[in-house]
């Protein structure tokens, strides 16, 4: 309760800063304060900016008026990113730290000369140029803790417009837009709403699924941290369309900043009369409650999520009945992902036609991906559906992280997705194409792997994730994934058997066919798709005892290259198992039987003579 009051107080007492606007002097400084930015030290940067400006006495309160915090703008690899706007001229600095702030203020703000060497390079622009930003457009620009900033850029107009239409018209508009669920399966949002609106019940619910759990994925977190009001507005539109009076945001507790910003946003929206009784004087009542998850990946599955809100163990149940008929507390319930909901305000204000003009034939609009792995420009990107993987990786992503490496595969859809080999790099990224190749859109994780990645090891990583996160309810997922993990482990340790590949295929197929929920039904995807495209790698592990990428420790064989060995003896000194024989002025020799393959000699050799 006390916390609630504090948040309300915070929402009320804040001075209303303008969205991206400058003060009388035309100065605006924007510092990224998303989780990525904060981890890179943006709080210290923003504090230093404020104290520097204050110390230089640039007018009263200039440090409060002109220094704005924003959400994540996507290019996390270059954090902390700072925009300095003077009279409409924008300069962006990268890798800013508190030590650099003084010079930026002195040279740029006071003397009007930007510090050229700290400005972002052309990469920053190519990263952004190929993107089409709808959801993330405002994320790096407005203050997420200020509702006025959102209103100034047209916020809550979508909700206002939706409520002036009939429920039927709103659903029709969303159906026409072709918007599909961004949480993974890609079900048509408008159709889902229609089913729910047809279910007869006085009480209905709309739930925002913000339980983003895929390893390496942070799309939803960034949207909430950067623009929480867009999600709230989306929920108001959805709630109105299906006739729900209460909305829940199910968000993982590991996102404290997102939760705090949501709480502030809800308090602000309630104060403005956008939430609560009789919103926009339409007679429509709508409230939003936050439910924090307790760290279970499975709660991203909609029936498990419902069970969790009800206070039960997060465990999926069989469908039918579908949540649109029998959901939370037995009442018709629509569950939409954060990204889906955040798309809605724009769809309503700009119209279905505009939205459906973006994207491919069957997949409309844009999709946010968390681009990670062995790629140069890691971060958050928003691209139109149907864009090719090549454009994402080479234009936006800037190619491989290490120049001498080649692209090997791309993993989409997180632990439920599959691997797309480099040979298919021209394929368009949309729901159907990804499904056809044995992967899926998923929530938007995109891991890029170079040729130093072992596909067996990678598959092992994902199956160990799903195994750990299995709820244990159904047999194939609980024991089946465990056995698959064990088979992969023995392959990576050099104990694989020839029949293991076929066994993996059979077991994987059966787990997909017989598991209860999406987690189990997709858990074998990383394994099946890597066997499909990289079978020879599995065979090499099993038959030759060689890991082609050199990743699997147990399969490594360390030998001294006698031509380049300089007889320094460093390897013998670091070897923990006494497997290296070395005498002064003699070349080293590794005893295979004693070697524990720890790699210490490999790292220690200054001449790269151990291979």
């Amino acid at each position: 309760m006390a916390e609630k009051k504090k948040i309300k107080a915070k929402a009320k007492t804040k001075p209303s800063s303008k969205a991206g606007g400058a003060d009388e002097k035309g100065l605006t400084i924007r510092v990224c304060l998303g989780t990525g930015g904060l981890a890179a030290g943006s709080q210290e940067v923003i504090d230093t900016f404020r104290s520097e400006l204050h110390a230089r006495g640039l007018g009263a309160d200039v440090e409060k008026k002109c220094v704005n915090k924003t959400g994540c703008r996507g290019f996390c690899a270059k954090d902390v990113l700072v925009d300095v706007i003077i009279d409409g001229n924008l300069s962006t600095y990268q890798f800013v730290n508190p030590e650099k702030v003084g010079r930026i203020v002195e040279d740029h703000i006071i003397n009007g000369k930007p510090v050229e060497e700290w400005l972002v390079g052309p990469e920053y622009h190519t990263f952004h140029d190929k993107q089409t930003k709808i959801l993330l457009k405002q994320c790096g620009q407005i203050d997420p803790e200020d509702i006025n900033a959102y209103i100034e850029i047209g916020g809550y107009e979508g909700a206002k417009k939706a409520i002036s239409l009939t429920e039927f018209e709103v659903i029709e508009e969303v159906k026409k837009s072709g918007l599909r669920g961004r949480g993974g399966a890609g079900f048509l949002t408008g159709l889902k709403w229609e089913f729910c609106s047809m279910s007869r019940s006085e009480t209905k619910y709309i739930i925002c699924n913000a339980d983003e759990g895929d390893p390496g994925a942070f799309m939803d977190r960034s949207v909430i941290e950067g623009n929480p009001h867009s999600v709230i507005e989306g929920m108001i539109i959805g709630g109105y369309a299906i006739g729900a009076g209460i909305g829940y945001i199910y968000i993982r507790a590991e996102y404290p900043l997102a939760i705090e910003r949501l709480k502030i946003a809800i308090a602000e929206a309630t104060d403005k009369g956008f939430l609560g009784k009789n919103i926009f004087k339409s007679g429509f009542d709508f409230d939003i409650r936050i439910k924090e998850g307790a760290g279970a990946f499975i709660c991203g599955e909609e029936t498990a999520l419902i069970a969790s809100i009800e206070g039960k163990r997060g465990m999926p149940r069989s469908k039918p009945p579908f949540p649109v008929n029998k959901g939370l507390r037995g009442k018709p319930t629509v569950i939409n992902n954060v990204e889906t909901l955040a798309n809605l305000p724009t769809i309503i204000t700009k119209g279905a036609k505009w939205f459906s003009s973006i994207g491919s034939e069957q997949s409309k609009g844009t999709k946010v991906f968390a681009l990670t792995g062995n790629i140069r420009n890691t971060g958050l990107i928003e691209v139109p559906m149907g864009i090719s993987l090549k454009e994402i990786i080479y234009d936006i992503g800037g190619g491989m992280e290490k120049k001498n490496r080649e692209l090997k595969a791309v993993q989409t859809g997180g632990p439920s997705g599959g691997c797309i080999p480099a040979s298919h790099i021209d394929m368009p990224v949309d729901y159907e194409s990804l499904m056809r190749i044995g992967s899926m859109m998923g929530s938007g994780g995109m891991v890029v792997m170079d040729n130093a990645t072992c596909m067996v090891d990678m598959a092992k990583f994902f199956i160990s994730f799903t195994q750990n996160e299995s709820c244990g309810k159904c047999v194939p997922c609980r024991i089946g994934t465990k056995r698959m993990l064990e088979i992969l482990t023995r392959i990576t340790e050099g104990n694989g058997k020839e029949e293991d590949i076929d066994l993996l295929i059979e077991l994987g197929t059966d787990i997909k066919l017989s598991s209860l929920c999406g987690l189990g039904q997709s858990a074998p995807n990383p394994i099946l798709s890597t066997i499909n495209f990289f079978r020879e790698e599995y065979e090499s592990h099993i038959k030759k005892g060689i890991c082609p990428a050199g990743v699997c420790k147990a399969l490594r064989q360390y030998v001294v290259d006698t031509t380049s060995c300089k007889m320094c003896g460093k390897c013998a000194r670091v070897c923990p198992s006494g497997a290296i024989i070395w005498l002064p002025k003699q070349k080293a020799f590794i005893y295979k039987s004693k070697c524990i393959k720890c790699g210490a000699c490999f790292d220690a050799c200054p001449f790269k003579s151990i291979t």
Binding site: R313, S318, P320, G472, R483, D510, L513, S514
Partner: protein, 355 residues
């Protein structure tokens, strides 16, 4: 009242008519087709956990669980084909891969659903070798023995505890391969957290949960089941005394019992020690001076009749009454009331359950 919709369903070629929202499993039962399952119990809500009941529905790509899928009109179901059999075999093999498979010394041999299915589908534990649970047997209470290693996580114990008994003693804890039913904070069962009704034992399809008092005293096939009515209260639950060589080894109850559908409480299931107790009074006792002597029933009834007749003669028929026990059955209570009205010719009838 919504109109009853009749659905015609074909199960393995046999047509059945369904009038409610039956599941495929229920419809199959009507059609006389047996679908294997481990997590289903008629007393519980459908669960869909073991996945053994998957069947192929015409026109649907993936197999569907029979226990949770409602039938639709003109549905055509195939309950066993090559793919389904392969999946079932693999599922049973997976279960056996984390099971001690010590049927020779297991309490449940001969009455174990997992054993029956392994036999039917001709599978053993050899296909998927891997990590196995090695957890100690839990005998932390007088009634229920828990051998976690034999648990297949069908969830029946958890559901009966929460859906039927509503005691909430156990739930699934942990995640992934290591999830298992247990009490909160894995504390020992005690009267603080458990009713000891043994309902969990009654629904366990394997030897994971067993009645501690009957352990080592005989397998189900050694015992004769004698159906009787519980003598503890007027509800009149039916149960089977499992008798071996004239001794009651344990108490079980079947789903076809009309009053209780196989459900029992702690008294009915575990309160049978008195049957073979040395202290049990087996004949009427008549007081003579300060002590009792063992009498015959004729003697005892004659004595009661004489005393009552004397009292009625001396003080009138209103002076006597009948007070019976809530531990008597409904029928017994009816008889004592009738006795008061026809023999005493009064309405002085009461029962301790009223107090």
């Amino acid at each position: 009242m919504p109109e009853k919709k009749i659905k015609k369903v074909k199960i393995d070629g046999t047509e059945v008519v369904c009038e409610r929202d039956e599941t495929i499993l229920e419809a199959a039962k009507k059609a006389g087709v047996e679908i294997p399952t481990l997590c289903h119990d008629d007393r519980l809500e459908p669960y869909g956990g073991c996945r053994l009941c998957i069947v192929q529905v015409k026109g649907v790509g993936r197999p569907l669980p029979a226990c949770t899928t409602p039938v639709t009109n003109n549905m055509e179901v195939c309950t066993e084909n090559e793919a389904i059999t392969r999946i079932r075999k693999n599922l049973i093999s997976l279960l056996l891969s984390n099971h001690p498979n010590d049927c020779m010394r297991c309490e449940k041999t001969g009455d174990c659903a997992l054993q029956d299915l392994a036999y039917k589908y001709e599978v053993d534990s050899s296909r998927f070798k891997g990590e196995q649970w090695d957890l100690p047997i839990r005998e932390d209470n007088p009634f229920i023995t828990y051998e976690p290693n034999k648990c297949i996580l069908c969830g029946r114990c958890v559901r009966i505890c929460n859906e039927v008994v509503m005691a909430g003693t156990i739930d699934l804890v942990g995640r992934g391969f290591n999830s298992m039913p247990d009490t909160a904070f894995r504390k020992p069962r005690s009267l603080d957290n458990c009713e000891f009704c043994g309902q969990c034992v009654s629904t366990c399809p394997t030897g994971a949960l067993t009645d501690r008092k009957g352990r080592g005293k005989g397998r189900s096939y050694d015992m004769t089941k004698v159906r009787t009515t519980c003598s503890y209260c007027g509800t009149g639950c039916n149960f089977d005394l499992n008798v071996k060589k004239g001794k009651v080894i344990k108490v079980t109850s079947a789903y076809d019992t009309p009053v209780n559908h196989g459900n029992l409480c702690i008294k009915g299931r575990y309160g049978y020690d008195f049957i073979h107790s040395a202290d049990r009074i087996k004949t009427p006792l008549i007081r003579r001076g300060d002590s009792f002597y063992e009498a015959t029933w004729d003697e005892a009834i004659d004595l009661i009749a004489d005393k009552f007749t004397g009292l009625i003669k001396k003080y009138g028929n209103k002076s006597v009454g009948a007070f019976s026990s809530s531990r008597c059955t409904n029928e017994e209570n009816f008889l004592i009331a009738k006795f008061a009205r026809t023999v005493f010719k009064n309405n002085n009838v009461d029962n301790c359950a009223r107090v």
